[in-house]
Each structure stands twice: as C-alpha cells, then as structure tokens.
Amino acid sequence: MSDQTTQAEIVRNSLKRRYRKERRFRLYGMLAIFIALGSLFVLFADIINKGHSGFIKTTITLDVTLDSEMMYLDDPRDEDQLSMADFVAPIIAALQEHVPEADSAAERRELGRLVGNYAASEVRNLLENNPDFLGTTQTMEFLAHDRVSTYVKHADDPSYSIKLSEQQQEWVDELVEKGVIDTSFNDVLFSRGDSREPSNAGILGAIVGSLLTMLVTLAIAFPVGIAAAVYLEEFAPQNKITDFIEVNINNLAAVPSIIFGLLGLAVFIGLFGMPRSVPVVGGMVLALMTLPTIIISSRAAIKSVPPSIREAAEGVGASKMQVVMHHVIPLAMPGMLTGSIIGMAQALGETAPLLLIGMVAFIVDVPDGFFDSATVLPVQIYLWASASEQGFVELASAGIMVLLTFMISMNALAIWLRKRLERRW
C-alpha cells in the first residue's frame, strides 16, 4: 500500500513537470508562428504602403483648340507637315486659359512641362486619325508629367523630393482646385508596356511575357516531368543507373537557378542559335529548372497510392500499363498537379536565369508571340526597382503586388484542385 502511495506521488510530481514542459513547448510554437506571421504582415504592409499609389494616375483634362496656325499645320493628311508641326502649342494654350497670368516665353515653357512627354504625340495621333478635327476644340485627357504626379500624390511625404518650381507648384494647386488635374485608377499600368517615363509605364507587357513564358514551361515541364516520374516509379528496374538518376534529380532541384540561365545561354542561344529575350527560350530554361520539382512531387504522389489498389487491379488481370493508366495516375493526379502548380509558381517568380538569356531588355511593346522579345513580371520589377526616376519606386511595389496576386491565386488553385480531386480510400 505504502509502495503505491509513493509511486502515485512520484507520478504526480512528474506530471507537473511534464505539463510545464508541454506548456513551454506550446509557447515556443506560438512564438514562432507569431514571428512568421508578423514579418509577413510587415512585408505586406510595407509593399502595400509603398505600392498603392502606383495604382493611381494623375491626369490633366483640357479643352484643346486644334488651331492650324498655332501648329503650323494646314493638312493633317500630309506626312511632311505632320512631322514638322508643333503639337505642344495648343496644349500650352489650353493650359493658359486656366492660368492666364503665365504669358512669358519661360512661363509658357514651364507650363508645357506639366503634361507628360507623350502629350504632344497624343494630339498628333488624334489629328492623324481624325483629320477633320483641325480647327475644332476637343476635350482631351493627358497624363500629367511624372513630377506633377509625384507632387500631387506625395506632396506631404518627405521621402519624395518635389522637383517642380514654386511657380509650377502654385499652378498645379490651382489646377487641382479647378478639377483640371485629377487622379483616377491607373489603367495605364494594365494596358501598356514599359516606358522611360513612370507615368506612361505599364506592366501589361511583362504580364503577357510571363504568361507566354509560363505556357512554354508548362507545355514542356508537365508532360516530361510526369512521364519521368511514372517511368522511374513504375517501370524502371531498380539498379545502379536508376539510383544514379534519382540522386541527380534530387541534386538538380538544389542547383542555383542562375546555372540554368547559363545553360540556356550556352546551349539554346549559343549552340542552337535561338533568339535572345524571347519567351520560348525563357520557358525552356524555366522548364529545366522546374522539372526536378515536378518529378519529385509526382513520384511522392505516385508512391502514396495505396498498394491495395494496385493489387486489386492486378488481381482482376490488369496489365502493368492498365494498372498505371487506370488507377495509379488518376489517383496520383491531385498530388502531381499540386507539385506542378507550385513548381510553376516558383518559375513565375524566377529572375536570375532570365537575366542571362536577355529577357532583361527594355521592351516597350507588348509581346505578341512566343518569338517576340519580352520581359517577365519579376524582371520588370527588378528593372523598375533599379531605375533612377522616383516614380518607378511605387510602380515596382505595385508590380510586386500584381506578382503576389498571381502567385497567391496559383497556390489557391493548387489547394482547390487538391481538395477537389482528393479521394479517400
């Protein structure tokens, strides 16, 4: 009896210690999660804080009188005249109507710098397309000059330097008050390619470039990866050669991505003479990089198909091929898809190998094919982040937000597919 009481005491004492240990361990876990979530939150908050203004554009709406004398232009159908004509003059004249006090030559020049560098060509395009407009007054919306945009959006932010003269600042304040200068959603960002001028730069070119590159990557990496996984897992004999291949696939997954870029440069561009900066080459390089991920996750998915299902199929007389095609692959498909999507998401965010094959070039046009020069989202972000104009800073952050949105939707798709296709046995 006395034996038992002492034992019970010992147990009770040790229980206390065990519970303390458990509590402590739980605390560590919560702390780790808190740190992880906290840093994620800080990261997102910073990006959104910096980037949200990238989604806002500053516009100047003017009633432009397309006076033929002012532009030195009688006939908008005449190419020679068009190339000689002065399209800035009517814009300045329109601005002067709101700011009549500016009439010296210097002031006029300063006034002209409120609109973006592409405003003149917008007038020209309008006239070229509608020659009848000559002599009429048209309401036109111009993008404000980058400096104006910065002043309007960030006048109170000390981290931005305002590069407008005091005179110009006064005018802008006045124009904002009159509603001539206004801010709205930045549709330019989603409808144009890159530009030298932040207010005119868009991310569409990079989105399309990323899309084309990803299509090539998917078309190569998915079938090849799954075929390799199925062969290695189901058909390959267990010997030294397959062991060697297996080890090397695992090694490839750990190779720095820039090495794949070097390989692409040497083999695809150097040896095969494929063009630089094109989505096809980028896609091929990223496919090489993604392959190990897809193979490894697909093999894991195939391994997780319960042997009882294989036995069942073999038991009714299915051949090896039928077992694989009818049972193993359908059951492993959710896992394979998840692995592939995560591999693709990785490839979507990859920059280094693409720099080497020239997808870092300054490309204004939205690419219209697999063999058209293009850049991709992360490279575009890199380009903007390293640009000197301060307007690009917010664009880079906005670009990161776009990229993150793509990534999160791809991961969400992977999770959804897994949930949707998951079967229980």
Binding site: I309, G315, V316, G317, R424
Partner: protein, 296 residues
C-alpha cells in the same frame, strides 16, 4: 503488485520458450518436421492445381520449403497456420501475385490444368483472369460500384455492348449477394459502403471476369461477425462452380467453409486432410497443438 510480478515474468518465459522451440514439451519426438513430407492426403485425382516441390524464397530467406499439394476441382480448401508460416505467400504463387516483388523467387512445378503457371510462355494477365483474388482488406477502386465490377470485363473485352456489361455486373452482384443492396445506387462511390459490403463487392469484382479459381487471403479478418457470416454463406454458394482457396486465421471459419484443410508451419506444409478429420483427429502433433490453441 508484488504478487503479480512473478506471474507475468513466468508467463513471458513460457512464451519465449514456445517461440524459440515451437514444440509442445510433452511429445517432442513427434514434432520433427521433415522437409517435403506432408501427412494426410495432399494429393487428389484430376486436380485443378498440381503443385510439386514448390519452394519460395525472399533473397536468402526461404519462406516456403518444398511443398507438394493438389487442389481439387470445385473444392474449397483452407490454409491455416500461425502467422508467418507462409500460407499467404503460397496462395499468392497460385496467380503469380508475387511477381511484383523483385527479390521473390519461386521454384518447383506449379500446374494449373496441366499448364505451367510460371512458364515463360504463360501470360500473367490471362492467368489472373482465370485465377481471381480477394484480399485481406476490402480494396474497391475509388470509383462507382458499377465501375468496380465492370472494370475486369472491360479490360478483358468480355462485353461488346453496354447491355452485356450491365448483365455481367448484375449477375456478379447477384452471385455476391449484393444486388439487392446495391441495385439502386450503382453510381455511388464504392468506398462509401460498409466494410462487409465492400468485401462482397470485391468478390463480385473477382467473379465478374468468370474465373475458374478464386483465391481469398483472409477475406474476413477486417469484417464483423455478421458480415463474416454473409461472406461465408457466399463461399458456400460459390463452391459449386468455383475452386476456392482460402487463407484464414479463424479455425472455425476453416471448419465451416472448407472441404479440405491444409496446416502450414514455418514454411512447411505439415498436414492436409478432410476438414473434419483435421479438426477432430489430426495426425501430426503440430497440427493438434495448433488447433487446440497451444500456440499460434
């Protein structure tokens, strides 16, 4: 507490002994197993399976040691014996389910209707269509009930039209005693059924390709007594048209369903005889010890 300790240690000692020397202590001389020698009636007239000097090894481990046995036509034979005695391994040789295990080697002569099972000319797919199998754990495909049963006939091309396939499915489910329960939900996913229903579905799937032999590897070990009774009834019904080989851990089950019983011990086939004879007057000492529950 103190009083219990010696009892426990004493028991473990006895258990340890019986594991090391699997021989009851009172009659040691009768328990010597001679390799390749089986008491009782291992052979039959005009057998379905004629198995001679079969040995199976996994690498250097010999799992089956020189077994010779006949399995009669339309006979229900049960394999009993302690765990690890090789009865499942032996069963799986009969339709070459061991093929997928690389290190497994089968020696000896295994004849199905006087054709060598392990001949290099033998197509294993055709063999398995003739020798179906039901496994320990119910393993329906995660597909509909209909697709489960129809899968075998489909891959073997047994039905040319949908109506023929429907007929095969219905017949198989009827034979497996599942038709009444399943006819209204043929499109339901099979894995949603109860364990007993799943096992009967697996039997229906096996008979859908109209095999000649059905191998059952402990088909009731995952089932409750009621489901077990239904499967046993089913075996009794099927014994008219099929040769059935059943591995079981339940001696009552062996006694209930089989014509003959084979007792395996450490890879040896110790005794084969009519079931009632094995259970009432076993010839070999080891068989007696096993069926009276002295080990196993």
């Amino acid at each position: 507490m103190n009083t219990m300790n010696p009892g426990i240690s004493g028991e473990t000692k006895v258990g340890g002994q019986s594991k090391a020397v699997p021989v009851p202590e009172d009659k040691p001389e009768a328990t010597v197993i001679e390799e390749g020698k089986t008491v009782g009636k291992p052979f039959a007239q005009d057998p379905k399976f004629k198995l001679r000097n079969v040995s199976v090894s996994y690498g250097n481990d010999r799992a089956i040691k020189d077994i010779s046995l006949d399995i009669g036509r339309n006979e229900v034979i049960s394999f009993i014996g302690p765990s690890g005695c090789g009865k499942s391994t032996f069963l799986r040789c009969l339709n070459r389910m061991n093929d997928s295990i690389d290190i497994c080697r089968v020696k000896g002569q295994l004849m199905l209707d006087d054709e060598d099972i392990y001949s290099s000319k033998r197509d294993v797919v055709e063999l398995r269509a003739r020798v179906g199998m039901v496994f320990q754990k119910p393993n329906p495909f995660p597909k509909s009930i209909y697709d489960n049963v129809a899968y075998g006939p489909k891959i073997h091309g047994l039905a040319n039209r949908k109506s023929e396939l429907d007929e095969i499915v219905e017949n198989s489910l009827r034979k497996a005693g599942l038709w009444e329960e399943a006819k209204d939900r043929l499109d339901a996913v099979a894995t949603g059924m109860s364990g007993g229903q799943q096992q009967r579905l697996c039997i229906a799937r096996a008979i859908a390709v109209s095999p000649e032999v059905i191998l059952m590897d402990e088909p009731c070990s995952a089932l409750d007594p009621i489901a077990t009774a239904r499967v046993e009834e089913l075996i009794a019904d099927m014994s008219e048209s099929y040769t059935i080989v059943i591995v079981t851990h339940s001696m009552q089950q062996a006694a209930r369903v089989s014509n003959r019983t084979a007792y395996f011990h450490l890879g040896h086939l110790v005794e084969v005889n009519e079931t009632n004879k094995v259970f009432t007057s076993p010839e070999h000492q080891l068989t007696e010890s096993y069926i009276t529950g002295r080990f196993g």
